[in-house]
């Protein structure tokens, strides 16, 4: 594929992520933090996010799956997930977590299950998209191109 075209598609793709509200400005800030001294910063952070989130979601499923749900266990997990998602700018995951926490406070098991599903859904969505994004970037790098700077003015 033409390098320019790839760069263009990467740009469009990134834009779409913001437009769909999957990511927010925090992700841009992350990208700004990435420079020559720290070239893989974003992917490192995101990978960490994936690892943590997989674990947290797993724990959450276990906790909520129990006969008697211990909300004291559930809440910190959700909080953590919320914190980490907001750190990388995964906006929709974060929002889902906010709702989740509300229901945790109400100790509404049924709603919590729903929220967990919602959070999972959002998480897999953002994971999917980000992986695609990184793949695109890698392709560009592999073909010797530069990753275009993200435009702010969309």
């Amino acid at each position: 594929m033409d390098l320019v075209q790839m760069q263009k598609s990467l740009q469009d793709y990134t834009k779409s992520l913001f437009l769909e509200g999957i990511l927010d400005s925090q992700f841009l800030q992350l990208q700004q933090l990435q420079d020559e001294s720290n070239p893989d910063f974003v992917s490192q952070v995101v990978t960490l996010f994936f690892q943590d989130s997989d674990r947290i979601l797993n724990d959450l499923s276990l906790s909520l799956g129990q006969q008697v749900v211990d909300f004291k266990k559930v809440d910190p997990h959700v909080h953590q997930l919320k914190g980490s998602s907001s750190s990388i700018g995964a906006q929709r995951v974060k929002n889902a977590c906010v709702v989740f926490r509300n229901f945790c406070e109400q100790q509404n098991v049924e709603a919590c299950h729903r929220c967990l599903q919602q959070v999972k859904q959002e998480y897999y969505l953002v994971k999917n998209r980000l992986e695609t994004l990184f793949k695109l970037e890698q392709q560009i790098v592999a073909s010797g191109g530069m990753i275009p700077a993200v435009e702010l003015g969309f």
Partner: protein, 1127 residues
């Protein structure tokens, strides 16, 4: 009632039975009662009836016994008389009878009562008899031949008789003879000379009626005397007895029925001496016979289907035995009553049963129905309540969702604004894109403001509004607000004037409170005032006072309700707010600030004054052509109350136009009001300089304007300034267009102790100048000096002369340090510029050498002024600008002495005016998180974000006015954000690896040399403890292990607050203090943030760790640390 209903409904059958039982019992009791009554009644009636019957019977007997008792005797008497006459003459022939016996007979006939036949019948058959044939006719029947002798020729003759004499008259007619001598009764009488009585027909006469006859044989047995009485008369008597439906029968033994009386139409016969009813032969009707002996108790007979009680007895009338029977109908008297009673009883029973069953059934049914209805109503009510609750919940959720959404929108808007700013950085300034972006920014801001007002409303509604306390400069704030609206108002020709009143607002200008909300209040009120004022002015008065006494007086202007209203508004808020305001009240540093926004607009009608503070209310008449939601004043009122104050519309004096809003708020001042001592110390220590770093000048650079403030000096100090009579005084001449501004400015300058002359019209300017300074364009110079050095010689009123006593405190050494200055402040709008300029030029020329004249032109383009060597000021002349202008006076450290410095002076003011021109917009934009920091740095001059021009300005100022100290000047070279944290070492504590990673990235970018990640609170505590012990062992090292610790608040095991507390505990022994900055997902104003500060953290940062926020927080923390270190 409810219980009864419930009971009835739950067991209807039981209740029904119980009720039925009760009613039945009641019925039975009354029935038995009734029965006994009836019984006794019946008995009574029966006894009466019995009496009646017996009396009736006795009546019969009486009649029988006493009506005809003497007939026998009469007969016997007559027989005796005839006997005696017979004895005397022995002749028994008819002639003898006719002559001797007949008169006797007649005598008897006419004397014996009721007799209807008197006869003498001899044994031979001779007969002579008087018979009453009619009432007034009597006949005689006689037989003049013997029946035995003449064998067959026995004839009876009937002849009428003279009623009086008894003699026979008329013709004798033959009548059928009867063989009297051979009848039973004749034989019976003859046989034993015995009387006998019998019933028989009369011997003659008309109709042969039945007579009761009594026969007595003569003693000689020659004949028989016979008296007869009419049966009819007896029956007539009996008939005359009143019989009440009874049947009465009388008959003789041989079966002749004498009396038959009654309604009964039955056939009857006499058999065997007793009476029988019914056909004798008929088989269908059984005959009923009444037995002989039935006198004592009645005998029941049934005749023709009606029952009778029969009583029978014997009766002897004139010796004739008779029988009679009286039958009482059974359905009369007691029996009838009995019957009727029985019937009534049945009816009664029926009714009772009906009632006994009907009524409970009705009752139960009614109750059940009532209960059912009630249940239905309750169910409806419950449904309704549920619906209401649901609606409330929905509404609550909606408002929450709304607030959340608004929050999000605000976030997005903030993002847009940030992006616009970012874009503008990359855009060539002045290009179209830049303009567009600017406009976009304005639009976004408007949107944000709108959203904020809605959000405020919902916050207030949900009671979540809280005060965001921070330190700020109140005077500055007020001035900013006015400056912001000044240009808009000036466009309409309305001046907006800041009236410092007694200047107390400057004295306590550094306060702690919610500047944003105060600004919102003022903005709202001033913008309203500007909106509704067409001409005239708007003045904003502000002053401070001790809370309590005076404030309540101010508020209590409408007599009865205000105190209570005040309390009400205190209590209607949530309790903790009340506590807050109470604590504010009780705090010694709390001052009450009263603000008045006074316009000359249309005003608000009296009746609308209360309702304008309600939401969504606009005054119709004045709202024409104006926009707005009508939320403004409602929010304002809520905010004012939140700050512990009250807002109201004060009454203006008669004839004055417009509205005056007055409100008060409680704020904590940062300096104590009794700082006079300190002031004096400062003065003495300050040497040549009146204005000290602490008191005199405050440069608040954060707001971008670089505006300066002279805080109001204490009154005593003011007096000092004007105290020396020998000193040449400066004078200010004001030529201002707006009357209110003239008044306010004059008063303010007077309060400062400077002499003021106010000129109202430009034409009067030269005249005024001449009068003051003894100068006219044509006159000599000499007089000017004279007048200046001895100002009191003139008739002009001089200010400050009354304070002579206190003047001695003025340091004398200052007296020669400066020359008097004449400051002309001229508003070019008052007249043509050139003319004015000429007047000024003339004046300048004529001045004495020692007197400096300075001119400040208002509202004139700077170029035009500056080329003439003067100063221009285009902002409204009040507050900081006025202070700035006044600072040119030597009394305030102005540099008037050397001509060389005027250039600089001018330039600085020029600079200032330029900045003032553009400042309002910047001020709003830059009212950001940085302000807190800057206010903290209030006493230092420099702003870290100072732009180049400001830095330049500062260096000019500080070059001449040695206000700042060396340390502060270092501030000018504040590093940019990128290099902000160069070489620092930071500990980041968070359980989330990602957050640490991001924070590390960011901090590294900002120049941090070492970021130590730490994944739990415990570990952080351990690290710090370790290091501290190390340091103690090594002893000398005074460097902190980390310059900052970023601490996540919510962590498992040990959260941020606890970790902080632990660290602080550990630190205590060593005396170190590592700045800890809380990192949390919550808002900076939230409860968590306060908790963090309480836990001992120094700053608070949002989780996103935005670069500028990070920088601000670090600065804030730094300044705090410095402040502590210097203390």
């Amino acid at each position: 009632m409810v219980k009864v209903t419930k009971l009835v409904t739950s067991r209807p059958i039981v209740v029904f039975c119980v009720l039925g039982f009760l009613v039945t019992i009641l019925g039975c009791i009354s029935t038995s009662n009734w029965l006994t009554t009836t019984e006794s009644l019946i008995n009574d009636v029966a006894s009466f009836t019995g009496d009646l019957r017996s009396s009736l019977v006795s009546e019969f007997e009486n009649i029988g016994k006493f009506s005809y008792p003497k007939t026998n005797l009469s007969t016997i008497g007559l027989a005796t008389v005839i006997d005696s006459s017979y004895l005397t003459n022995n002749d028994t022939g008819f002639t003898n009878i006719q002559t001797q016996i007949a008169p006797l007979l007649f005598e008897a006939y006419s004397t014996i009562p009721q007799v209807s036949q008197v006869s003498y019948i001899s044994r031979d058959g001779f007969l002579f008899s008087y018979i009453r044939a009619d009432i007034d006719t009597s006949v005689a029947v006689y037989a003049n031949s013997s029946s035995s002798s003449s064998g067959g020729d026995y004839t009876w003759y009937t002849q009428t008789v003279d009623q009086i004499t008894g003699r026979l008259n008329g013709n004798a007619t033959k009548s059928q003879p009867l063989d009297v001598t051979h009848t039973d009764w004749f034989q019976a009488a003859q046989r034993n000379n015995y009387t006998t009585a019998f019933l028989g027909t009369s011997l003659g006469g008309g109709d042969n009626e039945t007579l009761i006859q009594s026969a007595v044989s003569l003693f000689s047995k020659k004949g028989v005397v016979l008296l007869g009485f009419s049966v009819k008369s007896l029956t007539d008597v009996l008939s005359r007895l009143s019989l009440h439906g009874e049947e009465f029968y009388m008959w003789t033994k041989d079966g002749t029925v004498l009396v038959r009386q009654g309604s009964l139409n039955a056939s009857l016969f006499i058999s065997n001496g007793s009476i029988c009813f019914g056909g004798r032969e008929s088989k269908s009707v059984r005959s009923q016979c009444i037995p002989e002996n039935c006198s004592s108790s009645g005998y029941e007979v049934e005749i023709k289907r009606s029952k009778f009680q029969a009583f029978c007895s014997h009766l002897e009338v004139s010796g004739v035995p008779l029988r009679y029977t009286v039958m009482f109908p059974n359905d009369g008297g007691a029996t009838r009553i009995k019957h009727q009673a029985k019937k009534a009883l049945y009816q009664f029973f029926v009714v009772t049963i009906f009632v006994a069953f009907g009524w409970p059934v009705w009752f139960v049914w009614f109750m059940v129905r009532a209960t059912r209805r009630e249940m239905h109503m309750r169910a409806t009510l419950i449904n309704q309540m549920e619906a209401t609750q649901q609606a409330e919940r929905k509404s609550m959720n909606k408002s929450q969702a709304f607030a959340r959404a608004s929050h999000d929108i605000r976030g997005s808007l903030a993002g847009i604004k940030g992006l616009i700013d970012l874009c503008r950085d990359n855009v060539h300034p002045g290009s179209d894109l830049d303009t567009n972006l600017k406009q976009m920014n304005v639009c976004a801001k408007d949107l944000l403001a709108l959203l904020n007002s809605v959000l405020d409303m919902s916050k207030i509604e949900s009671g979540k509004m809280q005060l965001d306390e921070e330190e700020f400069n109140l005077a500055k704030l007020v001035e900013d607000v006015i400056d912001f609206y000044h240009p808009v108002a000036m466009k309409k020709g309305v001046d907006v004037v800041l009236d410092p009143h007694d200047g107390s607002i400057f004295k306590f200008s550094n306060v702690r409170g919610d500047s944003g909300k105060l600004k919102q209040i003022l903005n709202n009120l001033v913008s309203n005032a500007v909106k509704f004022t067409v001409d005239g002015h708007i003045s904003i008065r502000a002053w401070a006072q001790r809370p309590g006494s005076k404030s309540s007086v101010v508020l209590a202007s409408d007599p009865q309700g205000v105190v209570s209203k005040f309390f009400k508004c205190m209590f209607c808020k949530s309790t903790d707010q009340t506590e807050i305001s109470n604590s504010i009240r009780n705090n010694a540093n709390t001052m009450e600030f009263v603000f008045e926004v006074d316009d000359t607009g249309k005003g608000i009608p009296m009746e609308m004054r209360k309702s304008v503070f309600e939401n969504y209310v606009q005054v119709r008449e004045t709202a024409q052509g104006q926009q707005g939601t009508g939320l403004g004043l409602g929010i304002v009122q809520s905010l004012v109350r939140l700050m512990g104050g009250e807002i109201r519309i004060t009454d203006k004096a008669m004839g004055e136009k417009g509205t005056c809003f007055q409100f008060n708020v409680l704020l904590t001042t940062l300096e104590s009001p009794v700082s006079d001592m300190k002031v004096r110390q400062d003065i003495e220590a300050g040497g040549d300089h009146i204005s000290t770093p602490n008191l005199g000048l405050t440069v608040n650079t954060s707001l971008g304007g670089g505006s300066m403030n002279i805080r109001n000096l204490s009154p005593r100090f003011n007096n000092c300034l004007t105290s020396s009579p020998k000193q040449e005084c400066s004078r200010v001449v004001l030529l201002l267009k707006n009357e209110e501004r003239r008044r306010v400015t004059e008063k303010h300058i007077k309060n400062l102790g400077i002499k003021v002359t106010v000129v109202e019209k430009w034409e009067h300017l030269s005249y005024a100048l001449e009068r003051i300074f003894g100068f006219s364009p044509q006159s000599s110079m000499g007089r000017a000096e004279c007048s200046l050095s001895c100002p009191s010689a003139r008739e002009l009123p001089l200010i400050g002369m009354d304070g002579i006593d206190s003047r001695s405190q003025l340091p004398k050494r200052r007296s020669n340090s400066f020359n008097a200055v004449v400051l002309l402040v001229i508003d070019t709008k008052t007249g043509p510029f050139l003319e004015l300029y000429n007047v000024v030029k003339q004046f300048r020329r004529g001045l004495h050498h020692g007197i400096t004249c300075k001119v400040v032109w208002l509202n004139e383009s700077s170029t035009r002024v500056s080329e003439r060597g003067d100063i221009s000021c285009s902002g409204p002349l009040h507050g900081s600008r006025l202070t700035e202008v006044l600072k040119m006076l030597p009394e305030f450290g102005g540099t008037g002495l050397k001509e060389t410095s005027t250039e600089l002076q001018r330039e600085s003011l020029l600079r200032h005016s330029f900045v003032a021109d553009t400042s309002p917009k910047h001020k709003l934009q830059e009212e950001g998180p940085s302000s807190g920091f800057n206010k903290e740095l209030g006493k230092t001059i420099m702003a870290p974000t100072a732009s180049e021009s400001e830095t330049w300005f500062k260096s000019v100022r500080t070059g001449r006015n040695p206000i700042g100290n060396p340390e502060e000047e270092q501030g000018t070279s504040m590093p940019s954000n990128d290099e902000f944290l160069r070489g620092k070492r930071v500990l980041v504590v968070d359980d989330c690896r990602i957050t640490i990673k991001v924070a590390t990235g960011r901090l590294t970018k900002m120049g941090v040399s070492e970021v130590k990640p730490c994944y739990s609170g415990k570990e952080a505590v351990r690290l710090v403890t370790e290091w501290l012990t190390q340091r103690e062992q090594q002893g000398s090292v005074n460097r902190l292990p980390f310059d900052y610790i970023f601490m996540d608040c919510q962590m498992p095991e040990m959260d941020g607050y606890e970790a902080t507390r632990e660290i602080r505990k550990v630190e205590k022994s060593s005396g170190a203090h590592i700045p800890i900055i809380a990192v949390s997902g919550h808002d900076p104003g939230s409860r968590e943030a306060r908790e963090a500060i309480q836990a001992g953290m120094d700053g608070f940062l949002e989780k996103e760790m935005k670069q500028d926020q990070l920088a601000n927080v670090i600065r804030e923390v730094e300044s705090k640390m410095n402040a502590q270190a210097t203390l």
